[in-house]
Structures are given as structure tokens and as C-alpha cells.
């Protein structure tokens, strides 16, 4: 089955934006809950949510990092490419021109999600409606994912959608761990009592709390969490799982040599990293480097299969 590069690119971005919308919603949800649990005075600032998504340049210097501004930025702003409303709109634009290679219901559901977000995003910045909105976004994204996974023919369309999902998810998972790393929180905010709460809420944002308890145990402990979220093969949001899945989809594609080389390098550095021996500083630096590798992989995917250049 032949596939136009442009169509492959739009499917890939549809998947990335849908995943990003869901992940941002999860993160925001988990963080909003966390803040309520932590004793006044030691709670981390709202700025973390912006920094975790590398959103500072778009957020700008003139806005204060308070709850209202940050949540509006994450939920409703239409110029923030990491924001929920923006991602949903971008996903819809990508589906609009690829409808004919997707199951019919995909367009309907994506369009519905878009209409929902258009109507409710701005009204859901405050604590009162926020929870419901985020839940809705997460649920509908999951439904669309489920629809894609159960109805898509396993050809190029499926392949590029999966690449988009997994790459975005791997990236987001490393960002979530970065919140736990001291560098983001600032050492002065750290204390023994608060730490497990933060890590637990991060696990929750990855839907991984239950699996963690069953696999590792009830005690939330830093090194175990990092190890688990980085390298647990069976956890669908672990970095390892995502990279393995990407590899599986890259292998059948033509001209995959460069992309595989970059991917395998990332996989090796992931297996070599040892959370037991790493300080928080090291963890943060590792994540920084790792994210650059993922960016490089994304760049190579688009250069190899999407770029409108002559061969």
C-alpha cells in the first residue's frame, strides 16, 4: 500500500497532538491534586508545569506564574503548542485532510472533542470545572486511541500514527520524571515528608500507580520509581516500552538506517543509566540529553519520510 509523505506526516502529527493533549491533561490533573495534599508553605510553585513543558518562551516574562495564569496557559491558550486547546485543534486540522485513510468514526470523534474543547476550555481554568474538563479530554483521547488501535488496518497509516504516539509519550514520560528531579523543584523546596507524595502523584499521572504497587510494592521510593518508569518493559508508558514500540514500527519501513541508528543509541543510553548511583543533578542532566536524542529521532523521521525534497 502506497502512502504519500504528506499524508504520513499529517497522521504522525495527529497522533502526537492527541497524545500531547492527553498527557498535558494528565499532568495538570495530577499536579492540581498534589498541590492540595502538600502543607501550605512547602508546596512547589505553578511555574513547574510551564517549565516541564519547556513553555517559558511562549509564556513570556510579563505574566506572573500564578495558578490562574498557568492553568489558562495549559488549558485554553490558543498560541501554546503544548496547551490542550491548541493540541486538539491541531489534531483536528490534521485529521480533516486525511479522513479518507482513517476509519470514518475517527473524524467524528476528533471533531466532537474539538467542539467540546472550544466550548469548555476557557470556562475550565478555575478549580471548580477543571477536573471535569481534564477528565473529559483524557477519556475522549483514550477513546480515539482505542478506536484507532482496534479498527486501523496494519499498514503505513497505522505505522506513522504509532510512531507519533510513542515518540510523544516517551518524551512526556521523561518530562514527568524531571519534575521529581531536584533541579526543577529547587533543592530548598525538597523535604523528606513531601517527596513520596510528589512521586506518587507523578506515577498517577502516568496511570502507573497500581502497576507499581503490584510489581514493586506499596512504598514509593525515588530510585525504584525512576527505574520502573524508565525501564519496565511491560508498562505502556515507560520509556523502554515506547522505544521498543518505535523500533518495531521502524523496522519494516524503507530507508530506516539513520533513524534506527539514533533510536538504538537512545536505547543503549537508557539501559546504561543507573538510578542507584545517580544524584538528582545527574538524573536531570541525563533527561536533558535524552530529550535531545528524542528530538533528533523526530527530526530524522521527518527528514527521511516527510520532507518534500527530491531524492
Amino acid at each position: 500500500m502506497m502512502m504519500l509523505s504528506r499524508v504520513a506526516e499529517r497522521l504522525y502529527w495527529m497522533a502526537r497532538y492527541l497524545e500531547r493533549a492527553e498527557d498535558t491533561a494528565r499532568l495538570t490533573q495530577a499536579y492540581s491534586h498534589l498541590i492540595m495534599d502538600i502543607p501550605a508553605g512547602s508546596e512547589p510553585g505553578w511555574d513547574i508545569l510551564v517549565r516541564i513543558l519547556d513553555g517559558e518562551p511562549v509564556f513570556g516574562e510579563n505574566r506572573a506564574y500564578n495558578e490562574q495564569n498557568v492553568l489558562k496557559f495549559l488549558i485554553a491558550d490558543d498560541d501554546n503548542p503544548g496547551g490542550i486547546a491548541y493540541c486538539i485543534k491541531a489534531a483536528r486540522e490534521n485529521v480533516r485532510t486525511t479522513r479518507d485513510v482513517l476509519p470514518e468514526e475517527v473524524w467524528e470523534h476528533v471533531n466532537e472533542l474539538y467542539l467540546y474543547s472550544q466550548e469548555h476550555a476557557a470556562k475550565s481554568v478555575g478549580r471548580r470545572n477543571r477536573h471535569r474538563f481534564l477528565e473529559q479530554v483524557i477519556t475522549q483521547c483514550q477513546m480515539i486511541n482505542g478506536l484507532l488501535m482496534t479498527t486501523l488496518c496494519r499498514d503505513h497509516a497505522y505505522r506513522f500514527i504509532k510512531l507519533g504516539h510513542l515518540l510523544e509519550r516517551a518524551d512526556m514520560t521523561t518530562r514527568v520524571i524531571d519534575v521529581g528531579a531536584g533541579a526543577l523543584l529547587g533543592n530548598e523546596r525538597l523535604n523528606e515528608a513531601v517527596d513520596p507524595l510528589i512521586w506518587a502523584s507523578l506515577l498517577q499521572s502516568l496511570s502507573a500507580m497500581g502497576t507499581y504497587r503490584r510489581t514493586i510494592g506499596p512504598l514509593v521510593e525515588v530510585n525504584a520509581v525512576v527505574e520502573f518508569v524508565f525501564r519496565e518493559r511491560s508498562l505502556p508508558r515507560s520509556v523502554r516500552f515506547c522505544l521498543d514500540g518505535i523500533r518495531q514500527e521502524l523496522v519494516p519501513l524503507k530507508h530506516n538506517k539513520e533513524a534506527l541508528r539514533i533510536l538504538d543509541r537512545s536505547r543503549r543510553s537508557l539501559s546504561r543509566f543507573n538510578p542507584e548511583k545517580a544524584e538528582r543533578e545527574d538524573l536531570h542532566r541525563f533527561i536533558d540529553r535524552f530529550q535531545l536524542e528524542l528530538n533528533r529521532l523526530g527530526g530524522m523521521i521527518s527528514e527521511t519520510w516527510f520532507m518534500p525534497v527530491k531524492d
Binding site: 502506497m2 502512502m3 504519500l4 509523505s5 504528506r6 504520513a8 518534500p308
Partner: protein, 486 residues
């Protein structure tokens, strides 16, 4: 409950020809069963069928885009559930006439870009043709396969009050509307399935496969399945729905300009995830001017640089061929009957509308003196833009057109106002006569083929003659029915 049909105020004293009802108020023979069945429906039931049609249109996603107030608006397709019915016997003659016309037009285009015999023989003035904006010098000395240039032609027909079909104009550049013809039939099948029991209606749904065969016959490479693409300007084009529909129907790729490139071997390729794939035939739905920034408008981002080179080398076929528009100029229209005699040695079987060419002094004088009786049209606009219907125009409008004609006579033609035929149409809660036209599609490749029927467009505003969907027109399913009694 009274059925609104009983009050149908059809043709009065032969003012108009009505497609379904005779002057005496009785259904025409060919429409008898359909009218009987529709008249038997109660007002509630009629309303329910109309609602079902609207729902089907929304569900099937049949829409068209209009550009208004700086915005693109996606509108649901306006459809009237009462079909327009034409006897098969009558249609066969029309169909032969359409094929004849298309053959002659293609001979003409091929002649103009090659030997120009018709100009040398003085049948029509050379400057009319060669100075027209539709004549593309870049296309000279090209001979496409089978001498076919306008592979897809949409010819607009109307019936005057004498009940005869007249050719109003030929659309040879990028005629649209065929997907709506197909969808209209789909909707009618869903909404009025009973009607199909008592009629043998010629099917229309093999159009995409006919189009595929026509396009495939143009392939420069001998291949079992030539690579065909539909080239669209993109989602913001008013006919994007149709482009996607036809691509899907033919199993062809729907591409945008940036998906294609011409390589150093002067062949056309499309960019795929497996690398470049050679393209054999391009069914393009963008205008000549935007087709190739190397040959036409430099600022075009919709087209493909070098595609004209590939076409001239014979490495790719383009349908319709660039430059085909030279024959759908409204001034050239006046000469088509002559062309049929000249190229085919046949008498035209389809009537044309008397056309006054403002470039000729006596015609111009007549037009200016009779603006209130004539329809004035610019020579090369389509979509019903820039025309004036004399009897319906204000004094100011007529003065404006008089000035336009005097300043650029070559650009205007005028025709008598035809009494377009009517058909019963659902308007609010009643059934009223509305004017309509018909656009059949003619395919020309190795063989020629004419759609059974075509797209019927109907002016929903009372008394209006403007049927274009961009200007408030609707549409009807068009039936060609075998009439066993005749």
C-alpha cells in the same frame, strides 16, 4: 391532510416548459408513476422525507464551500427530493449531440495549438482565438493522445419554452459538480426507495470507473494499472469534497502540488514514504494559471514546477490538457456549429442559443438597444459571476453594463433571455415551479462517453434564473427513464 401538490401552479398558457407536468396540469407520461406516488404522500410524510434527505446529507458529509465575508463556510448541499425526469428516447438524441460537440471541440483545440487550419480557412477570425486570455502559447505544438484535450467536459443545457434542449455553454477547464450528481442519486435511493420499484432508471454510479478508464487510456506508459492522481488546490477549495470523492471512487491518490515534483529526467513523481513514485496521469482540478510556476504564474504555490515540461515531453498526461479553455470562451461558443460542420462534416444535432458578439458593430448596436431583453455575459467567467439578466436588472445595472460593453466589446456577448423550464420543487410547505438547467458530463479519451442525465441545478428563488450553488441554487436528482409505452 391536503397535499400541497394539488395546488401546484404549473405552466400557464405555455409560458414555460414544465419537466413533470403538462400545460393541462396532468403529469407527463414518463413521470406519471412518480408524480402519482408523490401526490399520494401526506404533507407530514413529505416533510418527513425531506428531513430524511437533510439527515442523509449531513451524515454523508456532502458539502460545498462558499467564500463569503473573508471566510470559508462549509454548507450542507441544497437538495430537492422531487426528481427531474427525462424520457430515455429523448435523452439518446441529446447524448449523441453532446458527444458530437465534444469531438468537434477537441478537434478545434488540437487544430489551434498545431496547424491552425480553421484560422487559415477564415472560419473564425484569428485574433478572437489567439488574443483570448484562454489561449496559452505555452501549449503550442503539443499533440496529446487521441487528439483529446478536454477529456472531461461539463456542458450546460437548458430547455426553452418550446421544450427543446439548447446548449448554454461548455465548461472545458475544470468543470465540477459530478460528485453531486452521484450523491443526489444516493440520497434519492435512501429517501424515496419506493419510486425505484416502478421505473427503470438508467444508473449513474459507474461514473468513477468510466472516468478511471478514460484517464487510464491516456497513460504514456503501457501499464496494467497506470498511476493516476487527482491534483487539488487543497481543503479550502470550494470543490474539495468532490476532489476527495472522485479520488476515492477511482482508487487514485488525492495530491496537492507539494506532493509532486519533476525530476531531471522530465518525469513526474510523487513523494511517498517509500520514495518517489512515477505518476502517469494527472486529473488536475486547478486552473492553468496555477499549474506550473515555471510556465504560468510565477507566484503559484499550488502547482508543480516543471509539470508543463514533463507534459510536453509526453511523460505525463494532464486532464484536462492545459490550454483547453481556449474553446470555452463564450465568443468561440458562437462558432461551435460551424466547427462541427468543418471538422466532422456533420450537421449539429444540438441547438445553440443565438449569440450576439459585442465585438461586431451591428451586434453591439443591437445589444445596447435591447439590454432589457438580453442576458449579457463576460466572455470568460464561470460560476454565474459578472453576468446581467436584462429583464431583471435595474436601470443603473443596465447603464453599468452598457459602459462595460463599450469599453471592452471583445469581452462581452449577449443572448436572448430563455424561458428556462421549470419543475415542481419543495418550497417551505408547498410544491412550486422553479427554473432549472442541466449539466451532463462528457468524457473523451480513447472513447467518448456521456453521463445518463447529469447534474440538475435549480434556482430556489421564485422567478430567478440563476442556478449556481454559490448563489443560492439547489439541485435535483436527474432520471433518464425508459418509457415502455412509447
Amino acid at each position: 391532510m391536503d397535499n400541497s401538490w394539488k395546488r401546484y401552479n404549473g405552466p400557464q398558457a405555455g409560458d414555460f416548459f414544465d419537466e413533470l407536468i403538462t400545460d393541462t396540469g396532468r403529469p407527463r407520461v414518463v413521470a406519471r408513476n412518480a408524480v402519482k406516488m408523490l401526490q399520494a404522500l401526506s404533507a407530514e410524510e413529505m416533510a418527513a422525507r425531506r428531513a430524511a434527505a437533510e439527515l442523509a446529507i449531513r451524515e454523508m458529509g456532502i458539502s460545498f464551500t462558499i467564500y463569503s465575508e473573508g471566510k470559508n463556510i462549509d454548507r450542507a448541499w441544497p437538495f430537492d427530493i422531487i426528481p427531474r425526469i427525462i424520457p430515455a428516447k429523448e435523452w439518446r438524441k441529446v447524448s449523441l449531440g453532446l458527444a458530437q460537440r465534444s469531438r468537434a471541440l477537441n478537434c478545434f483545440i488540437n487544430d489551434i495549438y498545431n496547424k491552425q487550419k480553421i484560422l487559415a480557412d477564415g472560419l473564425l477570425p484569428a485574433d478572437i482565438v489567439l488574443e483570448s486570455g484562454n489561449y496559452k502559447a505555452q501549449c503550442a505544438n503539443v499533440s496529446p493522445r487521441y487528439g483529446a484535450w478536454a477529456h472531461i467536459c461539463g456542458t450546460d443545457l437548458v430547455r426553452d419554452k418550446d421544450g427543446r434542449f439548447y446548449v448554454l455553454e461548455d465548461n472545458l477547464r475544470v468543470p465540477s459538480g459530478v460528485s453531486y450528481m452521484l450523491e443526489n442519486r444516493e440520497i434519492t435511493k435512501r429517501v424515496l426507495p419506493e419510486l425505484f420499484e416502478n421505473h427503470s432508471i438508467l444508473p449513474v454510479d459507474d461514473y468513477p470507473s468510466r472516468l478511471y478508464s478514460t484517464l487510464a487510456s491516456l497513460s504514456p506508459r503501457e501499464q496494467r494499472r497506470p498511476r493516476i492522481v487527482v491534483l487539488t488546490p487543497g481543503i479550502f477549495n470550494s470543490a474539495y469534497f468532490e476532489h476527495a470523492y472522485l479520488a476515492q471512487g477511482m482508487g487514485a491518490e488525492l495530491v496537492e502540488g507539494s506532493d509532486l515534483f519533476v525530476d531531471d529526467d522530465d518525469c513526474l513523481y510523487m513523494r511517498t514514504v517509500d520514495g518517489p513514485e512515477r505518476v502517469d496521469v494527472v486529473y488536475r482540478r486547478i486552473d492553468d494559471d496555477f499549474l506550473d510556476p515555471e510556465a504560468f504564474r510565477e507566484d503559484s504555490t499550488l502547482g508543480v514546477p516543471g509539470i508543463m515540461r514533463a507534459w510536453k515531453q509526453g511523460n505525463v498526461s494532464i486532464a484536462n490538457a492545459p490550454g483547453s479553455g481556449v474553446a470555452d470562451d463564450k465568443v468561440v461558443y458562437a462558432f461551435v456549429p460551424e466547427m462541427i460542420r468543418y471538422y466532422l462534416g456533420e450537421e449539429p444535432t444540438l441547438a445553440s442559443v443565438k449569440t450576439y458578439l459585442c465585438m461586431n458593430q451591428p451586434d453591439r448596436d443591437y445589444v445596447l438597444a435591447n439590454l432589457d431583453k438580453l442576458v449579457v455575459k463576460p466572455a470568460n467567467e464561470s460560476g454565474g459571476y459578472g453576468l446581467m439578466v436584462g429583464p431583471h436588472a435595474s436601470k443603473e445595472k443596465r447603464a453599468e453594463f452598457a459602459k462595460l460593453i463599450e469599453s471592452n466589446p471583445r469581452n462581452y456577448i449577449a443572448q436572448p433571455t430563455l424561458a428556462l423550464s421549470t419543475a415542481p420543487t419543495c418550497i417551505d410547505d408547498s410544491v412550486e415551479p422553479r427554473h432549472l438547467d442541466l449539466r451532463p458530463f462528457i468524457l473523451q479519451g480513447k472513447d467518448s462517453w456521456v453521463t445518463p442525465g447529469g447534474l440538475t441545478r435549480v434556482a430556489l428563488v421564485k422567478g430567478s434564473l440563476v442556478v449556481n450553488s454559490s448563489q443560492g441554487g439547489g439541485s435535483k436528482d436527474t432520471w433518464i427513464v425508459e418509457d415502455k409505452q412509447t
